[in-house]
Each structure stands twice: as C-alpha cells, then as structure tokens.
C-alpha cells in the first residue's frame, strides 16, 4: 500500500481537488437529479450521472486509492477521503455506480481472481459497466439465506431460473452480483448458496420496473428463465455464496474502508426541517411561535445532534469501551427511524398545503417533504428492516438470545 502522506501533501491535494470541484461540479441541469442511486428514473438522469461519474474518475477523484494496474490511482486512501470530502462540500451529484464501486469492486479486490480484477474494476470506475445486485427475492425479503433462485451447472454454463427483486438499476446494468442456489443438500440452507458475477444481457433475463410508494421508479424485478451464463461467472467455489454475500454486506455497512470513494446518496438535511418550520405559518402566526411545535422541534434537534455526536464518538476508542460495536450497529436503526419521524413531522407544518403532492406547482418545496417521508421507508425496510436491526443490536450488542 502507498505510504501515509504528510499533512502538507494532503493540504496540497485538497487545494487541487477544491479547485477542480469548484470548477467542474455541474449546475442545476434543469431536471430533478436523484438523491440516491436507487432513484434513477429516466434516461436523462441516467446519462447525466454516468457522464459525471466518468468525469470525476478521469480527473482522478474516484478510485484514487485503488491499484493502478486495474485502473485506480494507486494513492494512499487518505487522498481519496479528502477528494470525497471536497465532492460533498460542493454538493456534487451522487456517484451512480454504487453497487459496482461500493460493493462489487471492494469484493473483487479483496477476494477476486486476477482475471476478475482485470476484467471488471476499470469499467465500474468509469461508469462504463453499471452493476446491480441480486440478493433479495420476492418471497424472501428479509431472509437472504433462504434464496431460491436456481443455478444449475450444465457443461460450461450455469442455467438460472427464478427471480430477484429490489434491484436498483437492474434494467440498465451490465453485471449483477448474484446470490443463487446451486444445491439443496448440505447441513443448512446457507450451504447451498453460490455467488456469481453475472452478465445481465444473457438471454432469458428480463426486468420489470417497480413503481414505488412515491409514485416514482427506481427498482426493478428481474426474471430469470433458463438464462445461461458462463461457468466462470461463479465467484469462489460452489457453496461459498453465503460467506461472500455477508462479506459484501459489510462493505455496505462501511465496516471495510477499501472503498473507491464518492458517495451514493445524499442524506436528508435534517436541519432543513427547522428552516421549513421557520418559514411556516399557523393561525396567522409563525409556526415557531407555537410552543408545542417548538418543543417537538427541539426534541428532534436533540436527536439529530445525538446521532452526529454518536458518529464522532464511534471512532473514539476510550469513549466506547463498554460496547465497542454498539454505536456502529445501532446507527442505521437510529438514523433511519429518526428520518422517518422527522419527515412525517414536517408534513404537519404545511397546513392545508400538506395536501399537495410532488410536482403540483403549489406544493411546498415541490413536494420534497412528502417524497422524503414516503422514501424514508426504503431505509427503514431496505438493507434489513428496523425490526431486524433491533434483533441485530439486541443479539450482537446486548447479547440477548436469538428468537426461535
């Protein structure tokens, strides 16, 4: 690995990145840009974001710390962190190819073969090869280990049958990281799972867009009907699927830091609700003159600040001695539930105008708050529901017994 840079080197780099992003971060394109990679709805959005990711990559601010032989910049990760920080500072659009550079890339760099690294890494950085993820199935939303999509070896190929769901960019991706069942034998349901880096253009793979609660699009369901993929798409050995999938999920949770950089979602600016409240009226008076609303607002501010402090504290060893993993493991639960409650609360400021929805010209902030509330469920449900998060915290942090 590259040597640790000096403070001066980092400062130089930051100045350079700052100049680049100030110059190159795109202005409002005149259409709505997705706030997360799960919300890409139109071709226009897709092409815009592909071009942006490619530009950032070519400028060296994405994959800066990945090995040069596969298309990375070969620099110390501290440089990438700085580049990402600057990208956020200028509020640039998100990096589209999240499953690629956030999940598949780190995984392939960690445990992939030399061929796999050569074949996949560069294309995902440049957004030439978009990736998607095929873990969840319609009948097994929370229970990944029970995946039933069948992969049967037939000569040099695997034949796939079944369905995957909640696949962001599934209709635009070139590759999918795929969890499939190669066997029903074995001591438990996990033992029969295998992991594939599967091409999405194989015949027999079809996708259907899913309309979300918000009325917008972003996910697809994928149908596999005697779809054939080359046998070398198998990652590791048959039966390794569960371990590899779990490893992949760790990247999502940010446990591993070998990331390409960039960010895949814009977090809701929780303090924006305060601004909304500040501008709202009720009964002819400023809403924030209403002590009841003010009281709830303060309660939220305390909560928001707590989560910010938690994020600082989790990196301070002496302040998390008793349960070192506690803050990390509760973060998703606490944050997503807070956002759900806060965005729900934001609707109550709007008086009759709370009746408007996204795209009505009279909607407050063009319906941003309604969309945010309804979208908040994607986070309290996706990536392990809040109910499952509570089990995780209960079992892994508090040591409570697993339910039977």
């Amino acid at each position: 690995m590259a040597t640790r840079p000096t403070a001066a080197e980092l400062a130089d780099y930051e100045a350079q990145a700052d100049a680049w992003f100030r110059e190159n971060t795109p202005k409002d394109p005149g259409f709505m840009l997705p706030l997360t990679f799960m919300e890409v709805s139109t071709d226009q959005q897709f092409e815009f974001l592909c071009a942006w990711q490619r530009k950032v990559y070519e400028a060296g601010y994405l994959g800066a710390s990945w090995p040069t032989e596969y298309g990375g910049g070969g620099m110390h990760p501290d440089f990438q962190r700085i580049a990402t920080k600057v990208m956020k500072k200028y509020d640039g659009p998100i990096m589209l190819n999240a499953i690629g550079i956030g999940w598949a890339g780190p995984l392939i760099l960690d445990i992939g073969s030399e061929e796999e690294k050569k074949k996949y890494i560069k294309g995902m950085l440049s957004a030439e090869d978009i990736w998607c993820q095929g873990f969840s199935e319609p009948e097994n939303g929370s229970d990944l280990g029970n995946a039933q999509l069948k992969a049967v070896r037939d000569g040099d190929e695997y034949v796939l049958n079944g369905s995957k769901i909640w696949t962001s960019l599934g209709d635009r991706a070139k590759y999918m990281i795929l969890l499939a069942r190669t066997s029903n034998e074995g001591p438990n349901k996990y033992a029969g799972l295998s992991f594939f880096l599967a091409p999405m253009h194989a015949p027999g793979i079809e996708t259907r867009r899913i309309k979300k609660l918000t009325g917008e699009y972003g996910f697809v369901q994928c149908f596999f009907t005697d779809a054939r993929i080359p046998a070398e798409c198998l990652m590791g050995k048959e039966g390794d699927g569960w371990q590899i999938a779990m490893k992949t999920l760790e990247y999502e949770r940010g446990a591993k830091v070998n990331l390409a950089g960039g960010y895949f979602l814009k977090e809701l600016d929780a303090m924006g609700v305060v601004e909304l409240a500040r501008q709202s009226q009720r009964g002819g008076k400023a809403l924030l003159d209403d002590p009841v609303m003010k009281d709830r607002m303060i309660d939220f501010m305390i909560d928001i600040q707590a989560l910010n402090l938690n994020n600082q504290r989790r990196r301070m060893g002496p302040l998390v001695q008793d349960r070192p993993m506690g803050l990390a493991l509760m973060n998703k639960l606490a944050r997503t539930e807070m956002i759900r409650e806060l965005t729900e609360f934001s609707l109550s400021f709007q008086g009759t105008r709370g009746g408007y929805y996204v795209d009505d010209p009279c909607a407050v902030d063009n319906g941003y708050w309604h969309r945010s509330y309804l979208n908040s469920f994607s986070a309290t449900i996706g990536g392990g529901t809040s109910e499952i998060q509570r089990n995780i915290v209960a079992e892994h942090v508090l040591g409570l017994p697993k339910g039977r």
């Binding site: 969840s136 009948e139 097994n140 939303g141 929370s142 229970d143 029970n146 769901i165 909640w166 899913i210 309309k211 979300k212 609660l213 918000t214 009325g215 709202s280 009226q281 009720r282 009964g283 002819g284 009841v292 609303m293 759900r340 729900e344 609707l347 109550s348 709007q350 008086g351 009759t352 105008r353 709370g354 009746g355 408007y356 929805y357 996204v358 795209d359 009505d360 009279c362 909607a363 309604h370 309804l374 469920f377 994607s378 309290t380 449900i381 996706g382 529901t385 809040s386 109910e387 509570r390 089990n391 339910g403």
Partner: protein, 381 residues
C-alpha cells in the same frame, strides 16, 4: 368546567345510536364493499373524473345525499349522526366521491341560506347535483375565517377575486360555495358552474390519488347580490362547515384505519419469513395490536361525535376529540402498514400506501391532531 372521570363521560357527551343509524350502517357496509373493490379504486385513481358516475347516481337514489336535509327540502330529515356511518364505510373502502363535500355544502346552506337559496339548491343536491366548497387559500391556514379572497360590489352584483385551493370535484359541480371577504367580513358566496370561466379551474396534484380537487381562480367571476348567504349567520355557517367536515373526516378515517389494520393483519397471517408466519413475531404483532387499540378508541370518539353532533358545547368537543384521535390512529396504523409489508410495502401496488396517503390528506384538511388539541385546550381549560 370541573371534571371527575365519570362526569367527563357524562358532560362530554356519552354514546348512543338511532335505529336509522344502524340500518344505514348495515346498508352502507355492503354497498361500499360491493361497489368499491380495491381494483376499482385503483382504476378510478387513473380516471380523470376520479369517481364512478353510475355509483354516484346510486348513492343519490339511496337518498344518502339528503339524510341530514329536512323533508321540506326533499331530504330525509335525519341528522349528521346518520351520515357518519356511511362516511365510515366509504373511508373503509376508499370509495371517494363528492358525497362528503355535498353533505357539508348542504349544511352550509341550511346554516346561512335563505328560503330561496335553500329551496333552489337543497333539492338539487338531494337529487345528485354536486355542490362543493371553496375555502382554502394559498396561505395554508386552517382557520376558515382567514379569507383573503374578496367580493367587491360591481353594478348589481359582486366581482370576485383571489384564489381558492382544494375545491373538491369542482369540475363537476353545479354549485361552488366560496368564502369571500366583503368589506372585511367573511361571507359565503354561491357560484354557479356557468359563472366559472374556462381555465379558472386547475386540477391539483394531491397526495391522495383517489380524490379530485381543483384550484379555482376567482378573478373574473361575478355573482349577483342574491348569491351571498346571510351575513349574520356566516360565523355559524363556518362553524357548521368545520365541524361537519371534521366529523365526516373522522368517520372516513376510522374506516380507513380499520382497513389498514385488516389488510396488514391479513398479510401477517399469510406471509412467511425465516420459516415462520411473520404475524408470530411480536415486533409486528404488538404494534399492530396497539394500532387496533387506537382504532377502537378513535371509533368510540367518532360515534360519540356523531351522536352528540350539534349539541351546544358538547358537540364541538366531541368532534374535535374524534378528529384528533382519528388522525393519531390512522397515521400510526397506515405508517405501520407500510413498514410491516416490507419491500412490498414500499411499492405503489401495496394498498398500505393508499391508506397512508389518505391519512396524510385528512390530516392536511380542517386541522390535524395537534390543531384540534389546541382548540380543545381553549374549550376545556
């Protein structure tokens, strides 16, 4: 006011029901179930008008539009108490039509209309012609007396000006009753459809896709002087509009809450994860039970609000309690309905979203729980 726990029930209005109410409840239960299966609801969501004219005709034929209208004006001569159970069943089946707005418009006419005005319009409403209300304005305030739209003397009549929002089913309405400011006093004005210029109505995009509302630009509309309701009874009429609307909303919301719970319970009984019916997990089982408890409380309040409607003092308290508790119950039940359907809950195909959007809609019109609690504080402390 001095309270003890028992006289809360006594002085705040107890519970009771009429035979007619129960009969109407029974008829409405099967009518709404039969006429509004969920695929029909979804079909109408995509329909421009948003409701089935045939069903609307049947509702008129059943006499439901005249329940709380005196027989002298062609109505049934009962009261709002008998309307509530119908609204409840409509809310339960997401059967949205101009029913509520017509009912409330009739109440407004009864409260402030003269013999001529009532005599002309009430029979037409009973027969199924649509009357609607234009109350909300861009300021977003729930206070109905906060009116910036104006009516200014202009020859024999008045020229209107301003913008009204959320005018339900205005496109199909024979009559729009709008609040306008006449020389600093709020008045109710009757606007016939023929007086509304082309382009004055804009269909709004609202959170509840089962409804239709319009923005109405008043500029350019003139009405005759005889189209203003009695100035002296404006305040009474606004009160009646607010409480009748809130009662019908509370009823619809109770029905919606019931469905959100039933729909979720059904899923919890059939969906398996990790080898178990998900309804076995207390993480889902207990919150949906809490939602059910909240629903029953809200329903008791709603029935009390219907029973005590129009009673001096007691009636207003009961209605506000009903709306406040219905908002709490519906919001919670529908929010959990989305969550407990997991990934499916996050799709537009899942009915949980319909209930959630309906709950948001109802909270946004005529005041949410916090608003009514604040009003109750003024009434009770």
């Amino acid at each position: 006011m001095a309270f003890s726990e028992e006289n809360l029930a006594n002085h705040l209005g107890g519970l009771g029901y009429s035979e007619e109410q129960i009969e109407l409840m029974d008829v409405a239960t099967s009518f709404c179930r039969d006429k509004s299966p969920i695929d029909k609801v979804r079909k109408l969501m995509a329909d421009e008008r948003g409701y089935d004219a045939q069903v609307w005709q049947e509702i008129a034929e059943l006499g439901w539009l005249g329940i709380a209208i005196p027989e002298a004006h062609g109505g049934v001569g009962l009261s709002m108490a008998e309307v509530a159970p119908i609204a409840e069943q409509m809310g339960r089946r997401l059967l949205t039509t101009p029913f509520a707005t017509c009912t409330v418009a009739a109440q407004a006419l009864l409260a402030a209309g003269d013999e001529v005005q009532c005599g002309e319009w009430l029979p037409r409403i009973v027969a199924g012609e649509i009357a609607t209300l234009a109350l909300s304005e861009p300021h977003g305030d729930w206070t109905l007396s906060h009116v910036e739209a104006t009516a200014k003397p202009n020859g024999d009549g008045y020229a209107l000006s301003g913008t009204k929002q959320f005018v339900a089913y205005a496109k199909d309405a024979a009559l729009v009753i709008a609040t306008v400011n006449v020389d600093g006093a709020v008045r109710l004005a009757l606007i016939e459809q023929s007086a509304i210029p082309d382009g004055a109505l804009r269909r709004e995009i609202i959170v509840d896709e089962t409804r239709r509302t319009y923005e109405l630009t008043l500029d350019g509309i003139t009405i005759p002087a005889s189209a203003l309701l009695d100035a002296g009874r404006s305040a009474t009429a606004l009160g009646q509009i607010e409480l009748a609307s809130a009662l019908l909303q509370a009823a619809e919301m109770c029905g919606g809450t019931q469905s959100a719970i039933d729909y979720t319970v059904e899923y919890l009984k059939t969906r398996k994860q990790f080898g178990k019916l998900i309804g076995e997990y207390q993480a889902l089982k207990h919150p949906i039970t809490n939602a059910y408890v909240a629903y029953e409380k809200a329903r008791s309040h709603m029935l009390s609000a219907a029973h005590n409607f129009g009673q001096q003092g007691v009636g207003e308290i009961a209605v506000r309690m009903a709306k406040a508790s219905a908002d709490k119950a519906y919001s919670f039940a529908a929010d959990r309905a989305v969550q407990f359907h997991g990934g499916f809950g996050f799709t537009h195909d899942c009915d949980a979203g319909l209930y959630r959007r309906s709950a948001i809609w109802h909270a946004s019109q005529f005041g949410d729980a916090a608003w009514h609690r604040a009003k109750l504080a003024d009434l009770l402390f």
